[in-house]
Amino acid sequence: MKKIYFDNNATTPIDPEVFDAMMPYLKEEWGNPSSIHWAGRGARKAVEEGREAVCKLLNCTGLELIFTSSGSEGDNHAIKGIAYAKKDKGNHIITTKVEHPAVLNTCKALAKDGFETTYLDVDGDGLLNLDQLKSAITPKTILITVMYANNETGVVFPIKEIGEIAKGRGITFHTDAVQAAGKIPLDVQKLGVDLLTISGHKLYAPKGIAALFVKRGVRLVPLIHGGHHERNRRGGTENVAGIAAIGKAAAIAMRDMDKEAAHLASLRARLEKGLAERVPHIKINGHPEKRLPNTANVSFEFVEGESLLLNLDMKGVAASSGSACTSGSLEPSHVLLAMGLTHEMSHGSVRFSLGKMNTAEDIDYLLEIMPPIVERMRGMSPLYAGAK
């Protein structure tokens, strides 16, 4: 059966170049980078080269990068690390209602330690109101954490502007750039952020490796205490193969991003236009322009998302509904609800997130199979009058 993967925001395939780059570290060069003997030297070199490559993508120095095991670890490290480091200065955090659970649940957990969080609204297009942000700031505000791009809708937030607001007031600024990495430019100097999270497995590298940028001079409490690794900022023997992989993935992203972004944008346009032409009663969620080039979030009125996904899966098409991370739960997407969608429309949403392996033929196949699926499911729906 055909297999078409439209779930690249959940995780990406591993790029064959990345696979090749990590192999030596699973075969001959399995040493511990801390060892001074032959077995450690190759590993140490891989760690430093991987660091350099990721630093190039982010435009930062090696001293400013901490390798972590996941985007979630990076988000936790950044948010808890700053909160505890600055707790004498204040206890107020500002974030948004549409963050990933790694951010939202970390902020919630900090409430038990006396931290208070303001969750900013988004409008119907998924955009923030920077005036609301400004007026949320209090003398006790120590941290703003706002994602660069939303995983469900692809909506991109104005990180540079938020950074300027934060800087003027001495507030530390973190951005979760897990979905932005590799899709839109990610220059920490230009963005003006203090901390930034990325994750390998959204970037054609494997799961289990990620990185956190921490601007020179920004102090934070470690999340994982231990040995001298990562300059005493993150204990644990380095995931050498993973670091080689994310380094390669970063280098590829640097090299190919412009080309890939154009490719993705054109496929996405084909998909959205095609669906709108073929399927009535749909809504494309998120601001039409201020979005990642690869993400299409579509609500199909009168039907429920999971049932669409199962139908798509039966035809070999992988997509998702809500974020993959919360697909184990039954709650409708908190992101779409925050954008003002009804429960029905939120439940009826499907996310198509494209990747660099996708082709125009993939889109055309989807456009062929989607209308009858939607029609069939609507025919079963008690909410759909048109079918009677």
Partner: protein, 124 residues
């Protein structure tokens, strides 16, 4: 995630639609949960002679709806009333734990339809 039986009922649902001139109608669930089921039954001589469903919901919701219609078709009302959500889930070889609460409403819809029939009948 789902058993083969669930997938069978999901992809080939039995008795979709609404019976003509239903003796009773049951509608349960709500949009917040993402599952709404509407069951219509035809009752003759205290027997369910026809039954159809319409469901807005996930795979489990559709499969349980389909299964419950198979279970009750031709059954007497007494027997039908004994069918629980668990009976339905078991008939489908089980459901993922996360789906047991929200999406397993088909028997509720059935009971609502029977109650509706009884109310209408009592009124006659």
């Amino acid at each position: 995630m789902y058993s083969e039986k669930v997938m069978d009922h999901f992809s080939n649902p039995r008795n979709v639609g609404e019976v003509d001139g239903p003796s009773g109608t049951g509608m349960v669930g709500n949009p917040a949960c993402g599952d709404i089921m509407k069951l219509t039954i035809k009752v003759e001589n205290d027997k369910i002679t026809d039954v159809k469903f319409k469901t807005f919901g996930c795979g489990a919701a559709i499969a349980t709806s389909s299964m419950v219609t198979e279970l009750v078709k031709g059954k007497g009302l007494d027997e039908a009333e004994k069918i629980s959500n668990n009976t339905v889930a078991e008939a489908l070889d089980g459901l993922p734990p996360v789906k047991m609460h929200c999406s397993n409403l088909a028997a509720d819809a059935l009971h609502a339809a029977i109650e509706d029939y009884k109310k209408k009948n009592a009124a006659k």
